[in-house]
């Protein structure tokens, strides 16, 4: 049984799988118990499964686990916790940015990738960065406001 070693949220993990094509998403959810990364389409279209791989936002629902061997994966669980929330998580709660909330894990990851690259994004830049994520409930404006707010807070704290 092939073995795959990589890092998830700073922790080294090692998984043994018969099928090396198993999507990273299934490994996270079913092998590692990290269900925060959600299944939306399995087609790399909706962004529910967005994670950071070596710092870059990538959809992982069709990404074979072998392709992340040795790499650093960050999931929504790696952003923060209720005790130590990431500024984005705080801002999303402050702005009540969500309805069903199914898309939020992926959106938080895309937003984190944006702020890492561009600490002062405009509204248009935020919207463009989130165009890879679908929100069906219509929480878009709240989400954009939350990212703006997190950017301000991150800059103030930096």
């Amino acid at each position: 049984m092939p073995n795959f070693d990589f890092f998830v949220n700073g922790r080294r993990v090692s998984v043994s799988l018969d099928n090396e094509e198993t999507p990273l998403l299934n490994v996270l959810r079913n092998e590692l118990g990290l269900v925060g990364t959600r299944f939306g389409c399995g087609l790399e279209q909706c962004g529910c499964c967005m994670v950071l791989i070596d710092g870059k936002p990538e959809k992982c629902c069709a990404k074979p686990v072998w392709s992340v061997a040795g790499k650093r994966v960050v999931t929504v669980e790696g952003l923060g916790t209720p005790e130590h929330p990431h500024p984005l998580q705080t801002a999303f709660l402050d702005e009540q940015a969500g309805q069903c909330g199914y898309c939020l894990s992926g959106i938080l990851i895309s937003a984190k990738a944006l702020l890492d690259k561009n600490p002062s994004p405009t509204r248009a830049e935020i919207a463009a960065a989130l165009d890879d994520n679908i929100c069906r409930c219509g929480s878009h404006n709240r989400i954009i406001r939350a990212v703006e707010k997190a950017a301000v807070q991150t800059r103030a704290g930096a």
Partner: protein, 705 residues
Amino acid sequence: MNAPEWPGPLNENPTLARWVSFPASGKVAVNTGRVEIGQGVLTAMAQIAADELDVAMSRIELHSGDTELTPNEGYTAGSQSMQFGGVAMRQACADVRALFLDQAAKVIGCPASELSIRDGSVLRKGAATGQDYWRLAAAVDLNMKATGTGKLKALGQMQHIGESAARLDLPDKVFGHSIFIHDMQLPGMVHARVVRQLNRGATIGAIDEEAIKRAAKAPVEFVRNGNFLAIVGGDETAVDLAAAAALNAVSWQNVEAPTALQAEASSLQQQPYVDRAFGAPEAGEPQGRQRFEATYSRGYLAHASISPSCGLAEYRDGHLTVWTHCQGVFPLRSALAKALGLDVAKISVHHVQGSGCYGHNGADDAAADAAIIAMRMPGKPIRVRWRREEEFVYEPKTPAMIVKVRALLDEVGKPTDWTQEIWSPTHSKRPGAGGVLLGAVALPNPMPEPPPNDVPEASGGGATRNGEPLYDIGAKRILHHLITDAPVRTSALRSLGAMPNVFAAECCVDELAARAGQDPVAYRLSMISDKRACAVIETVAAMAKWNPKEPGGTGTGRGIAFARYKNKAAYSAVVVELAVDLEIRLRHVWCATDAGLVVNPDGAINQLEGGIIQSASWVLKEQVRFDHGIASFDWETYPVLKFSEVPEIDIELLNTKDEVPLGVGEATAGPTAAAIGNAVSHALGARIRDLPFTRERIMASLLQA
């Protein structure tokens, strides 16, 4: 003597213990038949219970949509959760509080009028008494019927109702915790995918089991009952691979598939229908009167929930337990009992949150799939998660509709007689309400398709919803041609027929205003005496700085529209500003809504914003395409509005301290669609009457202009 008038759900579930109990020291169990579908209903219910019971929100443990615990409130649908469910919850809690005050008065030996409750503790003239809900609970029997006599809190006494409490479920969603049904893990659980019967009556020809097993790369097994075929295994990736392979490895006979042409609303008029009529009797047209007639349409839409449906089931010791994200656990239980030949007492159905549903999507069917498989594999918890393509293809579609408006006008160009003639299939194929469970249709000897019907008028109607505008018009009538043989399964999507009906009526009102040479805002106000309607129209015009003199045909435009949802829920008026070249760019949307008493203002605004954005997405982008089957099967073939396409939105709530809450979740669907239609017409100087507003339609209208 007449029975007291209680809110509906309390009549149907009068036992107070079904609503409230005090299980452990310091906690209050509050049970609602309403379920969380992304709309924030659980937070609002907790606010209501906290106020009427005088306890802190943090003490409340909510249970929702559970056949073993909660009241049966049918479906969580129709923007009725606050208007009916919330009102029932208020009364039930007020009754419980009154019973406890009576008991406390007995124990303390004073009149109940001297007592009050603060965070569950009984006070006498403001001083502690040592009594509280939990000490008194043993002596208060809540297994009694509601009396409806508990006094509701007056507006000034409420601490939670009317406040924008933070959503209780949002932290779990922001921190990526396990909260969705998709996240559930039961001991010994196995994964399953269904090889879907292509249509009712389709039969399995050959199954290349070896090809499917090879594709799975891990052990899978088959469960077959008639033309119901499922693939089950311990590894989710394996069942996914097997299910994908099965699309080619299983052959079907007796296949019927809708044609490309049938995706167009225009095809409805060639299909068989039965006629229904409501409102004023048909009148002959008097000589010499001006008349106006215009026909509007919309194609089939998908719910397109962000996650495909999921259902879990376990059949153990003769009892079936089902977990589902559907909108009605009790109706699903009844439908499962019929489909599986089980007694309802042998079935428990528990609601667990899924992604936003906006109506009857695949949730019930996924739960039924899991149940059918579980019955064949006793003792094994079964998890079915539909594939994305499966959800798009097999979820019920909301009907295509044609709405022809015919108005007779007086000498100043105002309508005196109004007919909305509607061609539409049914808006309800919910299990137990005119529909069947998809998986059950594939079983041997399936139940026949129920005769065609639509949502009753008393529940707001389906295709006829908002088919009569609220304006002061002498005679209004609806003629509904109920299409009896639609090419696809159709059912409820947010606002049902209200979106096409309001789109048609409110675009038509703008066309009439233009003929009369009047400003659309002034024209509307001159035709409506309902003060709350006038207030939302005037407010939204002020918010948008509406200017009647803004020239049209410049490529940018503004439009207004108004409706009262179902003519009995929230009033909403919307102004849209947009630009059109080859496509439409929404710039700004303003909305004024009167939903009466609002339990959670930020929650209501969130719902209104969501309704505006979803409706905008329907209007600008969405139509389910057919091509030898459903050709809209993923997010590329069924695109929806993206972040960069969403306009800024401003919302004002009016009259929030009214006594009565009015349903709000669907209120903006119709007005948004019509306001976009009117703004596009203003921008182009030409009218597009068919949805969605595709590039082809924009081009065609420019050529006509």
